[in-house]
């Protein structure tokens, strides 16, 4: 069958100025031109570039639901942005044989001052629906969103749940031949997510072609027949969703190994009051490259507080390989009240006790945030892959058995013979 999407050798190169913001000022440009006119005439100076996507090729047939998976920075979003025509590729070509609608965010263009009804029309138009199409589906959209009573209320008075439901309802009623969906299911409560998944399943069931990005492997397996795995901007696997997701879950990217944390930390966007300097993982005083489950894991987070800051919290999430948070721990969780930190350099240390981690893949995500104000690190935190090897207390007679579970805390057992038993 003829493909509905054909991607051939697609690549996208980004310029990264050395620590400069992506936009400049005219003043700088003029001053630069005055200082070094030949450089301007020659067309640019010593700019660093990076390929976010390189040599990506695949075909999608009509009616297929394809999951696009990969770690953060693997190029998923760039790929979706190119296919949605938001940004242009640097090389290669993509052909689309159908109307495309993309849902990279729910509620794009929602205006708080406008009513629910008005926003449905505005958002619909932004997503590419005609007024007649919106008229036709308006009742359906409102029914799906369950906000009938408030449809003539400005959305600034909506709860965040109502807002999301209405926004998703509009997007869910698009009827393009190709639907491109980014991680929109990461929002909302569980019931709402379930409803969205159902709706997405419907869309796919009706023969529409769907490209779907998610970190939720469960959702990918449930919705997609096929998955494409991206790593470092290139396709590393393409096949049945169950196999490719399996591959992804086992895949520890070298780009963010423990040894690589330093380079990730150095590239973090600056924050006015907090600067992460280093994250050190050690076991028994030695740098941990492989993590051994039988030894305590010490986590040292070194950072600089740049100004007097109230309510700064440094913390980490221990996530499983699907991104589910197993637990979160704050550096001040044993303290009393909101702490105020003076400017200066600090190190917060935590220890995950021996015989806690299981011999599986984890992701340790280190965050910092100011309570009730903002995050000082990117939303995903600084993610460090942990590949844990079993060295803890296990009955060696059964070592060949596969490990079940996500954590392996040392549970004290005792076995005694029951006195009144046989």
């Amino acid at each position: 069958m003829k493909p509905i999407i054909r991607v051939e050798g697609l690549g996208k190169q980004y310029r990264i100025g050395a620590g400069r913001p992506s936009y400049a000022t005219l003043r700088d440009a003029l001053a630069g031109a005055a200082r070094a006119p030949w450089r301007v005439l020659a067309g640019g100076g010593e700019e660093e570039t990076v390929w976010a996507l390189r040599d990506v090729s695949f075909d999608v047939r009509p009616g297929e639901t394809v999951g696009i998976i990969g770690r953060n920075g693997a190029g998923k979003s760039t790929l979706l942005k190119i296919l949605s025509r938001i940004t242009e590729p640097t090389e290669g070509r993509a052909e689309l044989w159908g109307r495309v609608a993309s849902m990279l965010e729910v509620g794009t263009g929602f205006h708080p001052e406008l009513t629910g009804r008005e926003n449905v029309y505005l958002n619909g138009a932004i997503l590419g629906m005609t007024r007649r199409e919106i008229d036709k589906r308006f009742d359906e959209i409102v029914a799906f969103s369950e906000v009938e009573r408030f449809i003539n209320t400005p959305v600034k008075r909506y709860s965040s749940g109502m807002y999301l439901r209405l926004a998703f309802a509009v997007a869910a009623h698009l009827e393009p031949e190709i639907l491109i969906v980014d991680e929109v299911l990461a929002v909302g409560d569980a019931a709402f997510q379930k409803k969205c998944l159902g709706k997405m399943g419907d869309v796919a069931g009706r023969g529409r072609t769907v490209l779907f990005v998610s970190h939720n492997m469960q959702a990918i397996r449930q919705l997609c027949s096929r998955a494409v795995l991206l790593r470092g901007g290139t396709v590393t696997a393409d096949g049945p969703a169950s196999e490719v997701t399996e591959l992804y879950l086992r895949d520890v990217p070298r780009a963010s190994s423990i040894a690589d944390v330093g380079s990730v930390v150095r590239k973090l966007p600056p924050d006015p009051s907090f600067r992460l300097k280093e994250i050190e993982l050690t076991q028994d005083g030695e740098a941990a490259e492989r993590v051994l489950s039988g030894r305590p894991l010490e986590i040292a987070i070194r950072y600089e507080v740049l100004e007097l800051t109230k309510g700064l919290r440094v913390y980490f999430d221990l996530c499983d390989s699907e991104g589910t948070v197993l637990f979160r721990s704050f550096h001040d969780e044993r303290a009393d009240g909101v702490t105020v930190m003076e400017p200066g350099e600090y190190a917060s240390r935590a220890v995950i006790a021996a015989d806690t981690l299981a011999p599986v893949f984890y992701e340790l995500r280190v965050h910092a945030g100011i309570y009730n104000e903002r995050m000082c690190t990117p939303a995903e935190g600084v993610a460090i892959p942990l590949a844990v090897e079993a060295t803890g207390r296990t009955n060696s007679a059964y070592l060949a058995d596969s490990f079940r579970g996500k954590l392996a805390p040392a549970i004290p057992w005792s076995v005694e013979r029951d006195s009144h038993g046989g």
Partner: protein, 298 residues
């Protein structure tokens, strides 16, 4: 298909889920995505296909403006009136600028009418791309719609200001003439000029953020280089030719003639038309050339 599969580590394609043949693809791709070549088209067909979005964006801007400020309409009315009052006090009464018969407030208002629209439209459309960055990074549509919609929303204010001016005309007993018939053409012309300048400023503003700051200052200078608060014949005869290269000159003088009577300066108007068209076309092409960086820069 074959060469694609060869590049992947796990080429096994599933054949277990034959997709239902619900959709027959057209012979030619609807959309081809590739790096733009040197020659760019204006993309007018695409713009036309998205005309409803243009309508909704104008509608949003108008609605939000008049909803947010309780004095929405009042503000639109008061702004040119207050400016007129100030200029009347300073230039009309203190400096005593000759007005060729018409009352000075009418002379000023007839200039401020198109100028307030023009400078307002340039300012809002100049900031429109940066202000709508959340749309640009999330959805595709012809980018040109954004600055065009910003100008469109200002047209509504223009209309309101016209009503105020009509009231002022009645108050001063100014006679209406056949020259009013030129108004639609003049409105079209000033809109085209605002589109050209605004579109260009908006694209530059994405790349160089200080353009947004520079625009109001430049507009202030431009105002005094145009016959807004003084009549055209105040400019010395031998400077007229250079002066009229400013496309706003023919337009504003034209508005004044249409509203207050007198002779149309056809040369100045012709120059305005030509310069406006050149500005609009150049702006549109350079906008299209810069457009591909918007989502990455904004």
């Amino acid at each position: 298909m074959g060469e694609t599969a060869a590049k992947t580590a796990r080429p096994a394609r599933t054949e277990e889920h034959p997709p239902p043949p619900a959709f027959e693809p057209p012979r030619e791709p609807l959309v081809i995505i590739e790096p733009t070549r040197r020659r760019v088209s204006l993309g007018l067909r695409d713009l036309w296909a998205y005309r409803e979005l243009l309508y909704f964006l104008v509608w949003r801007d108008v609605k939000v403006r008049y909803k947010q400020t309780a004095f929405g309409v009042l503000w639109v009315v008061a702004q040119p009136l207050l400016t007129t009052l100030i200029f009347t006090l300073v230039l009309g009464m203190l400096v005593k600028i000759p007005t060729e018969g018409a009352p000075y407030p009418l002379l000023v208002f007839s200039g401020l009418l198109p100028w307030t629209f023009f400078s307002g439209a340039v300012a809002t459309s100049g900031n429109s791309l940066v202000g709508n960055s959340h749309l640009i990074t999330k959805v595709y549509f012809p980018r040109m719609i954004i600055p065009v919609a910003a100008v469109g929303a200002r047209l509504v204010d223009f209309l309101v200001a016209f009503v105020v001016f009509a009231g002022l005309m009645l108050y001063y007993g100014q006679p209406l003439t056949w020259r009013l018939a030129a108004l639609p053409l003049l409105v079209l012309l000033v809109t085209a000029l605002a589109l050209g300048v605004g579109m260009w400023a908006s694209a530059l503003n994405v790349r160089y953020r200080d353009v947004g700051v520079a625009v109001p200052v430049l507009m202030q200078l431009w105002m005094f280089a145009s016959p807004v608060v003084y009549p055209l014949n105040l400019v010395p005869e031998n400077w007229r030719a250079v002066y009229a290269l400013n496309p706003a000159v023919g337009i504003i003088a034209g508005f004044r003639t249409a509203l207050l009577g007198g002779e149309f300066d056809l040369t100045a108007l012709a120059v305005s038309v030509v310069v406006t068209l050149v500005v609009l076309v150049l702006a549109a092409y350079s906008f299209r050339r810069m457009e591909k960086f918007f989502a990455d820069l904004v």
